[in-house]
Amino acid sequence: MTVLEVRDLAVRFGETQAVQGVGFEVARGEVLGIVGESGSGKSVSVLAVLGLLPPRAVVSGSVRLHGRELLGAQEKELTALRGKSMAMVFQDPLAGLTPVHRVGDQVAEAVRVHQRVSSKAARLRAVELLDLVGIPDPARRARAFPHEFSGGMRQRVMIAMAIANDPDVLICDEPTTALDVTVQAQILDVLRTARRETGAAVVLVTHDIGVVAGIADRVLVMRSGQVVETATVDDLFYRPRSPFTRTLLDAVPRIHDHPARSGYSGRPVLPPQPAPAHPGDARSTPPVPAHSGEARSAPPVQVGWGAVRRGGRAVLEVEGLVKRYGRGGWVVDRVSFDVRAGETLGLVGESGCGKTTLLMEILALGAPQGGRVVVFGRDTAGLSGRERLGLRRDLQVVFQDPMASLDPRMTVHDIVAEPLRAHGLPIDRVGGLLRLVGLEAEHAARYPQDFSGGQRQRIAIARALALEPRLLVLDEPVSALDVSIRAEVVELLLELKARLGLSYLFVAHDLAVVRRIADRVAVMYSGRIVEIGPVEDVFAEPRHPYTRALLAAVPVPDPVRERARSRLLLSGDPPGDHLLRPAGPPSGCRFRTRCPLYPGLPSVLGSRCVSEEPELGAADGAACHHSSGGIG
């Protein structure tokens, strides 16, 4: 039975036609996925359905709920329907909850707006709802404020609010985009529960085509404000009709396949951006020669492990690095790894695991609180200001969000030239640098806001390369980008590395990206590295239960496999993701509070997890007492 029917929906903002000719219908208990890249009009479409667009938006077409036309309906009528018959879950659960009210009150408000019940009854109902969406100890937690909740918990609250009145239609706008992959898996599960409990028709908007594979019945693909294709989930993945859907599917990295068969296979990806390489580049920006100053550096300190199979000198060695803020727990605790010349080390972990703090400690080039950092053979602890400045030339950084990390008041030329000016070098290389990253030299006169996200990240890369560094530190460089753009930037980075002989320390939470770009991978949990090794080995045969859970939580863009596979759901939140963190990590193994192995261990084996903290061995491997599967 069709609950919601949208026909010929069009939305215009002034001169801009944002959405045109969009139509779909959803039946009771059905999940419709709406997929598209940023700016494709998917969010605008669903907001138009609820009548939540700003007043300047001109909406036409038809939106029928149970056959009743909603477009052009009185605001009063819509207010009565919103939250009752049609509810919505938004993307960012931190911004989406009112910061000054308790979460229980906010859920109770959703109840009381539509039902004539006492405030006490509404509060009890709110606790019930919080329980339903999996908030532990809901009666107590209902009294907490949103900022005291982790991202995943907040999104559960949003869902509780949305299902408070048993809606007929539940619209979810990128409900898991801001969340970690293990939490994403949890939230998708909560959405399944919500659909089961309410029988609602669900519209799930997402840019991640992998997410829809496991949960949607039908999928609608959007591009530039129009519907490209609507199909059942199986048809879409196995028999895509439109070329756009095919390219979209191709761009999805598949972590469980061999990289050669995956999306990042060097195949041309849409849309045709300026070709990353121009033959003439080599002249204007010669590959970085071996630095003349290299002779001054002391012979590299050999770190014992991992050296067996890997050649090359270590460009970065981190040994037992410690960082803690104030009297709180350790953010980075005894972390050791090295990066060899020409090598890419991928550092993965969920939000709050300490990866960014670790990067900042390395980039500080100072004396760490504990342990040591050796860059190009030089211990950073004893550097003078001048030496530190010199070392910075060889060590550059690319940040996560190219929208925020480029000064909007500076031209691209000034941005790229800034490191050159800072080191007193001639600035005539800017044009060459821009061409090196696939932009035109003429772009230099423009401002960052004239560029798309992918192009901005290219500008940021050009800026980082200006000083001809040997080691690039990349902090989530592609996570703010669309899938297809992400693939392009990753290809660019791979190419630059090969051409310029760079080494990368690449931080990401996206495992697929790491698989494509990294030679080795280190998995961080709660401030420690729990597993490290060559990327092929770790992905093919993860030894630490956390690595296994991380890999399992990534949605597979394959409906049949996604439906068939057993879900290894990691419970709880990433330990750093909330302010209510206890003073320190649990005793023994830090992961044991979320470990899927630990509860099933016989007490003889389990006691070791409580009493003794597992350490990474001298070689590659996992910091787990029972990494071979829990039997011994």
């Binding site: 939540l52 938004f90 989406g96």
Partner: protein, 317 residues
């Protein structure tokens, strides 16, 4: 919270000590003769100068004077007015109620008008009501207080004399409530007009920011009625900057509302201060300055405490 308060109070005491010391040095540093001359005025005969040196003990070393100054201050002894020969504390206690009532009554008016006006402007930006408020606000900000005050006095005395409003010294509400109102209403309105204008702009800007937040959209998606969205979800969060400004204003105004008090002949702290500056009445100037500083310090502590009630994310530590 307790620790926070203790620290803030300690810090406040430090500020007051600095103010007291600065004022002291400003007036008393230097050779005794020139200090006495400064106090007595350029044409004072030498006998007066000598007398001043004796009564104030200016011949003692500076640190000794400083210690006795601080000691007296700690005992609440601010000295004796040169002019009226009454203790400064008495003078302050006499003038304080007028200023307190003026600021308190006016604050109620301007906060009500300012926040209401700001909310009305913000809910329909660039609408008719927003434009009307904007014009009123501009008028309120541009008219000098003394012009507005004199206009009000003119109207009260010659156009609407039957209200019985008029300028005059402060009357305690306990003695004559009707008289109190007749004296206070005009200064209240006069001060509130200027202040409200500022608060309309402040509230409007802050509300516009808050109403653009995602959680306002969430509240809409819940089906919450508009007034609930505006007041429960919007205004509450928008009040923080308004309260900050309020604390600063209250502190400053309590130290002396000079113009308004003068126009309406209200015998408040502002009047006292003006008079003592004109007469070179040093002990009164020092007393009034320290009192003004104390008001600002206290108001700021109260604002910080108010934050923690308005916004649960603020943790006082």
């Amino acid at each position: 919270m307790t620790r926070f308060l203790l620290r803030r109070i300690l810090f406040g005491v430090l500020v007051l000590w600095l103010v007291a010391t600065t004022v002291f040095l400003l007036f008393f540093a230097g050779p005794a003769d020139s200090v006495a001359r400064r106090l007595a005025g350029p044409r004072a005969p030498i006998e007066v100068i000598n007398q001043i040196k004796d009564t104030l003990g200016l011949n003692r070393p500076l640190w000794e004077q400083y210690v006795s100054f601080l000691g007296n201050l700690l005992h609440g002894d601010l000295g004796i007015s040169f002019i009226s020969q009454t203790p400064v504390t008495t003078l302050i206690v006499q003038s304080l109620p007028g200023t307190l009532w003026l600021v308190a009554g006016s604050a109620v008016l301007w906060m009500t008008a300012g926040i209401t006006g700001g909310v009305i402007s913000a809910t329909r930006p660039r609408g008719l009501r927003d434009r009307v408020t904007t014009v009123l606000v501009l008028a309120g900000i541009s008219v000098p207080t003394f012009i507005l005050g004199m206009l009000m006095i003119y109207l009260a005395l010659s156009v609407f004399p039957w209200f019985g409003l008029g300028p005059g010294p402060y009357i305690s509400p306990l003695v004559d409530f009707r008289g109190f109102l007749q004296v206070m209403i005009m200064p209240w309105v006069c001060l509130a007009v200027v202040q409200a204008a500022v608060y309309v702009r402040l509230t409007r800007g802050s509300m516009l920011d808050t109403l653009g937040e995602d959680y306002i959209r969430t509240a809409r998606a819940k089906g919450a009625p508009e007034h609930r969205i505006i007041y429960r979800h919007g205004l509450r969060a928008a009040l923080t900057p308004v309260i900050t400004q309020f604390g600063v204003d209250i502190g400053t105004l309590l130290g002396g509302v000079v113009v308004t008090e003068s126009v309406f002949g209200l015998q408040g702290l502002g009047q006292l201060m003006i008079r003592s500056v004109r007469d070179g009445d040093l002990p009164v100037i020092i007393g009034a300055a320290i009192l003004a500083a104390a008001f600002i310090v206290i108001a700021n502590i109260l604002v910080d405490v108010a934050y923690s009630f308005l916004d649960p994310r603020v943790r006082l530590a």
